[in-house]
Symmetry: C3
Subunit: 171 residues, 3 copies
């Protein structure tokens, strides 16, 4: 039921219209605080319980017309990792709940006119054991998620490396 | 005894008067090298054996009047992690010794007029097994700790999210 | 055989003359994409299957005359970690294959006129188990490696801390 409610909230987020750039972007769950601010090197984003990290980053890229960016982050949430199978060219997924994100590293670029994220993370559980890998999905849990985005001036596209089928960042 | 000596050194550090900004800030253990320098994007800090990472970052925030910042780091040390219990609103702590800090990610903000740090880390032991989470304490071991601090122009405060009791970064 | 071929490719990379700064630096394996671009805060480097990460970073430092830098990264590859033994002053090494690099953190400085890297990483395998530590070697696997380098204006040298024999970054 809690999960269902959560998905409904996410669905609502996904279908809302994009705000104009000049309007402060408010959190879905608190009206007091915007979701991100512009900094000297890019953007600082703070997401809260119920937010979908990948979706928020994609909306940031579109709204602020970010040509490309690198990012780091930390937080508390429910990650889904996928391990790249070089033979099948697919990711084998696995989800974790209520873990700290001890580290998040990634980049923002574009593919087919849409934002294309690449995120890797390390999640740690209540025994402080660490898991991690390529992030397929990421929902903020009972806490927050802080993301530091460093923007770059060049519009970058993700390409497929013909040798191994992997998607790589084209420079 | 070694531990006691260590605590005495830390106590000495904690009570020393703050230096003026223009004076180079020397390491407690070597007079040849300052503890940090100003860079194009913020500060680069290098801590050595016996230094208390959280205390040094707090002193940096006060001395340099950092409105807010994001940071990354690496090093060798003795971390204490805490896992957030959403029910009790407390961190269950656990300490590790002689681990590499394979990754450190965090932010600097303010709360009640004092620096408020948020640090997550991944520690790895001699078998290269990884542990991690929210950092409650952090002492530099037989090596060093390098911290890259990216400063932001906005003064940011940490707030409590009423929904889950977690402290979050207010934008 | 594959390993041998790989070493031959690396050997070829190692002995090639340094290009002039103005010439785009092409990947060993794809002629369409340069290996790095200059950004607002430093450089963004993308390495591909077969590239040697440490060697490429050293060549970047030399070619672009980087005084010092901090870096973060993510990718897919074959890391060799070493755990520092404070008694013997040596690193006990261990290699892993086909792991994601969930996190890479490091710095570029100089020692004896040559680039001196300090890299820590967290690798995760197909079960999402995390390993990590000090990186002694790093080859890109069937995927890519994205590195974000933030440059600093000061030329920094690595020094030996007399108290514990560890190499530390001098400020």
């Amino acid at each position: 039921m809690k999960k269902l409610l959560f998905l409904l909230i996410l669905g609502g987020l996904g279908s809302r219209p994009l705000h104009a750039q000049s309007k402060p972007v408010m959190s879905a769950t608190t009206s007091a605080s915007p979701k991100y601010i512009r900094t000297a090197t890019g953007f600082l984003m703070v997401l809260r319980q119920g937010d979908n990290v990948l979706q928020e980053l994609e909306q940031l890229a579109i709204r602020e017309k970010i040509p490309s960016a690198s990012l780091t982050g930390l937080g508390f949430r429910h990650p889904t990792f996928g391990f790249w199978n070089a033979q099948t060219k697919e990711y084998a997924p696995k989800s974790f709940s209520d873990t700290e994100m001890a580290s998040l590293t990634g980049s923002i670029a574009w593919k087919d006119g849409k934002p294309a994220l690449h995120l890797h993370g390390v999640a740690t559980d209540k025994n402080f054991t660490a898991y991690g890998g390529h992030l397929l999905a990421l929902e903020v849990g009972t806490g927050s998620m802080e993301l530091t985005i460093t923007t770059h001036p060049q519009r970058l596209e993700r390409l497929v490396d013909e040798r191994n089928g992997a998607t790589v960042l084209g420079l």
